[in-house]
């Protein structure tokens, strides 16, 4: 009985992808000079200097912002990338940054970095609750030709291995990340798209409401984990 309880306790403990990564990957994430994501962060700083700073001042003022994103506003979930482009288009009057482009990855990594070490704490009260519930339903839905749900891999099978890789709990606390397999940086959306195509399911559109719901649910599910942005993953 006690043993059973012990196992349950271990299974419920939140582990970030960092905790399940190998020592080399962890060493890269631990050292800002060896973490290639900082090449993007440097570009993000250049973007910040071209207008964002005029209104927001030093980027250090963004401390805590990424830890409470995404947020619900006027009936939809808004993530950091969408917020940045909203500022660019509506407030700064310049073109939106391309998703997965170096400028967008750089500036979101830079903003995320300001919250590094803080606990993920999204607001799930009031109007957010419905979005979280929809995100969770999607997380538990079996889909694709493999007929697998996110939960099956990231809850039931977490800790086991798949084609040599360890199945992680699937938290979103380190995004955008530098992924060795990509030899580059990518957003949470890119990661989710990889998981969805992995089970040969239909991929959600980047701006689809359900994707926002899923991102909000993932953040709520990872509440308390430390923001690691910009993380390194295998």
């Amino acid at each position: 009985m006690l043993v059973c309880l012990g196992l349950l306790g271990a299974a419920e403990e939140k582990r970030s992808g960092y905790d399940d990564a190998g020592p080399q990957v962890r060493a890269m994430q631990d050292d800002d000079l060896a973490n290639p994501a900082f090449l993007w962060v440097q570009q993000g700083a250049a973007v910040w200097g071209q207008g964002c700073a005029d209104c927001h001042g030093a980027v250090e003022g963004m401390r805590g912002v990424a830890a409470r994103y995404p947020v619900v506003e006027r009936g939809r979930v808004v993530n950091l990338e969408q917020r940045v482009n909203e500022c660019r288009v509506e407030r700064q009057g310049v073109a939106a940054l391309a998703p997965e482009g170096e400028a967008m990855l750089g500036v979101t990594a830079l903003i995320g970095l300001q919250s590094r070490g803080m606990a993920v704490a999204v607001d799930v009260s009031g109007p957010a609750a419905g979005h979280v519930a929809r995100g969770e339903a999607f997380f538990r839905l079996r889909q694709g030709q493999l007929n697998l749900s996110c939960a099956q891999c990231h809850e039931q099978l977490a800790g086991q291995s798949l084609a040599g890789a360890r199945i992680v709990q699937g938290h979103a606390n380190a995004y955008p990340i530098y992924r060795l397999e990509w030899q580059g940086m990518g957003s949470l959306f890119r990661r989710l798209r990889a998981c969805l195509t992995g089970v040969r399911a239909e991929v959600l559109g980047r701006d689809e409401g359900l994707l926002g719901d899923l991102e909000l649910f993932l953040a709520a599910r990872g509440a308390g984990l430390k923001v690691e942005t910009p993380g390194v993953r295998p």
């Binding site: 000079l33 060896a34 290639p36 900082f38 090449l39 440097q42 170096e102 030899q183 580059g184």
Partner: protein, 106 residues
């Protein structure tokens, strides 16, 4: 080319080894990969890296395929007097990078 991330102390003690660390943004295309059309993607890697202080070589390396993208190099150096450290690298397409830092020795 994007600026690399370079970490070199600006002040060092004479004869005492210090570390030079540099992270360079580069695809390091191996020449073994095929693109979506099945064509081999031409090799394009940083093939040479050199570091000199006032013209005198401190460290150099010839790089080969199978080094991951955005390579990270770290080496130690020791100086007897103040000088300007120049780090240079070239890739297969003739692209060049260069960084310069002055280091004072006490």
């Amino acid at each position: 080319m994007v600026r690399p991330l370079l970490n070199v102390p600006r002040e060092v003690r004479a004869g005492v080894a210090f570390e030079v660390r540099i992270l360079i943004q580069h695809a390091m295309e191996t020449g073994f990969r095929r693109d979506a059309m099945g064509m081999v993607v031409a090799q394009d890697i940083i093939n040479r890296f050199e570091c000199a202080v006032d013209g005198e070589e401190v460290f150099s390396a010839t790089l080969h395929p199978a080094i991951s993208a955005n390579p990270y190099l770290a080496f130690s150096a020791r100086l007897g007097r103040s000088g300007t450290m120049v780090l240079r690298w070239v890739d297969d397409r003739g692209g060049e990078g260069r960084e310069e830092v002055s280091i004072s020795v006490s």
